[in-house]
Each structure stands twice: as structure tokens, then as C-alpha cells.
Amino acid sequence: MQLFRLLVESQNFDRPSVEIALDLIFASTGYRGEKQYIKFGLPEHCDPRPDIDYDPNTFVPAVINTQFDMRVFGSNGFLYHRLSLDTIALSQPLRIWPNQYPFRPVDVLTQINEQLFTQLDETDLLDIEYTEPGTFKLFAGKHSLAWRGEKEFMAMEAGAPQYLFPVQKLTGFTEVAST
């Protein structure tokens, strides 16, 4: 419970989902794995006690390299807790400016990640089509290793996103010679 709170409060989500999943597995099971030695299967929703916060809600099959850990060999798996997309904190609503309608989450992943400070990939988000501007929900992909649930966003008129600092490449700093 404390570890989940720590993870959510730190908002340390700017990394691949597999790394977040390893932290979630550690928080749920106490097992600390390393991604290069674990091959995950497809995670499935499995929530026998949905009313309990941070209770396991997911099962993922996994094969662990015995060179990393001889205690576990053959096919195994982890029962752990995936986080809701809503745990990603934002001070502003998530706004998406697609190039055109309809669009899919994969088309605007860069904008999503830049605003959420995440490294979500196409597996992390449900591949559905949004056809018009308005307020909708992003849904976590069924087989995301770290995420479940949903997060509200505003689909804006097609065009460039209105970043606070629209010019991303700053020309600086540069060396100044003595005069």
C-alpha cells in the first residue's frame, strides 16, 4: 500500500510501461525483477476484490530467465495491481489537437506523452477512433502492462497544439567570446 502511494505521489511515469509494471509487481508481490530477464505474456484483467484499493487486479504470465533467478523456472506469472490512467496528475485538462478527424490515439501519442509526462506506447491505449471535437475518454489498452482505466481529454479543432512554448528547439546556449 505504501509503495503504491509512493509511486503515485512521485508521478514517476516518464518511463516505459514495462519498468512501471516491474515496480507495480514489486509493490504487489515483493518480487523485484529485471526487465531483460523477464518475458511477459499478455496481461489480463483479474480483480476478485474490486472494492479494495491497490489489491491485485491483473494477472500476467511471465517466463523468468533462470540465470537471473533459479527459484522460478518454467511458466509463471504475477498477480499484481495495474494503475488507472486517472492516477496521472495534471493541473490542466489534457487537450489533443489532431491533424485531422477521425484520429486514433496512436496518431497523437507524442502530444499525449508530452502533456502527461509519460512514455505510453500504442499497446497502452485502446485503439479506437475519435471522429469529432469534444470531451472524450482515453482508455487503457487491454494488454497494457502498467495501465488500466481511463482518462478524460478534450479533442480540439484539427491543427497544431497550443503549447505554452511553441518553439521547441531553443537556439542556446552559445559560447560568448571576449571582446
Binding site: 516518464d14 495534471l90 493541473s91 490542466q92 487537450r95 502530444q111 508530452e114 502533456q115 509526462f117 497544439p161 497550443q162 503549447y163 505554452l164 512554448f165 511553441p166 518553439v167 521547441q168 528547439k169 531553443l170 537556439t171 542556446g172 546556449f173 552559445t174 559560447e175 560568448v176 567570446a177 571576449s178 571582446t179
Partner: protein, 172 residues
């Protein structure tokens, strides 16, 4: 010749100024946006740093900017820098930082330079940038000159000290 100060201002002030200058804006840190994270590496040529910011302005969204942190060794090419006044021992880089800033025309803060204890008198000491500097490249360093230039050296090149631990200066 008076010291020119092309790198004046705290690192965070300089980064915010850079963001605003290039974008022709006047947003204020903490009021209009927060800096979430500054990391080494950037995908655009000519940049080596990625800064993530969170917008607090309605209608404007959070994002990233990329820029180039300079190594502090660029000070080597400057010819107008003063010597840093070192007059007592032991001391440390952090303790000397106000004098370093004065001599080099900088406004470095203690959290962006590595500290080191100084117990011996030398003509130069090394100033190394820590991982926390928003404007200077972490790990880069500059060997600044001290006022201990006109001192008496022994046969091994060590500075001779008085009983009080101060360097014996040459009589002019």
C-alpha cells in the same frame, strides 16, 4: 579591463529567459508554468538537453523544449576574468562560490557545483558542475586562477605557508 558578464544570472533565470526570448513570450516560472524535469539528451541536432514543463496558462498545454547546455570550460577562452581571492584555509568550493562568481562573472548556486574541501594553497582549483545545473553541462569543469599567483614555492613546487597557514607572498 572590467569583467564582462555574458553568462550572468542564475542558471534557472537564464533558461527561463532563453525559453521566453525564442518564443517571444514573457511567462514567469511558478506563475505561468513549472519545470518538471531537465534531462540530458535531446532528439534535435544542436541540442543536448530536454526540459519538460507544465503549463498553468488556460488554453496552453504542457510540453518540452530542447536546448544546449554549455560546458563550463568555455570560460577558458575568456580573457577578462579575474583571479579568485583565496585568503584563508581550510576552505571549500561552496564557501568560495561568492568570490568565484565575482571573479568569473557568474551567478552559480551551490546546488549546481560540486563541493570540495581545500586545504592547500594552489594557483588553480577545479570548479565542477553537478548534475543539477539547468544551464551548464553536468560533469564539465573549469580550473580557475586564484590570487595565490605571487607566492613562494618550495623545491617540489608546493606553496610555502606561514605558521598561520597562509601562503608566503613575494615581496615586490
Amino acid at each position: 579591463m572590467p569583467i564582462q558578464k555574458p553568462y550572468a544570472g542564475t542558471s534557472i533565470q537564464r533558461v527561463v529567459a532563453l525559453m521566453n526570448t525564442v518564443n517571444q513570450s514573457a511567462y514567469e516560472l511558478n506563475t505561468d508554468f513549472d519545470i518538471i524535469k531537465i534531462t540530458a539528451g535531446a532528439p534535435l541536432a544542436g541540442t543536448n538537453t530536454t526540459l519538460q514543463y507544465e503549463s498553468k496558462v488556460e488554453g496552453r498545454v504542457s510540453g518540452v523544449v530542447y536546448y544546449n547546455r554549455l560546458p563550463i570550460s568555455v570560460l577558458q577562452s575568456r580573457t577578462d576574468l579575474d583571479q579568485v581571492d583565496v585568503s584563508s584555509f581550510p576552505t571549500s568550493i561552496h564557501e568560495l562560490l561568492p568570490k568565484i562568481n565575482l571573479a568569473l562573472g557568474l551567478d552559480l548556486t551551490t546546488d549546481e557545483v560540486n563541493d570540495a574541501i581545500i586545504t592547500d594553497a594552489r594557483m588553480t582549483y577545479r570548479l565542477t558542475i553537478s548534475q543539477n545545473s539547468p544551464a551548464w553541462l553536468p560533469g564539465s569543469y573549469y580550473d580557475f586562477q586564484t590570487t595565490l599567483q605571487n607566492v613562494i614555492l618550495d623545491e617540489s613546487g608546493n606553496v610555502l605557508l606561514t605558521e598561520a597557514g597562509l601562503p608566503i607572498e613575494l615581496e615586490s
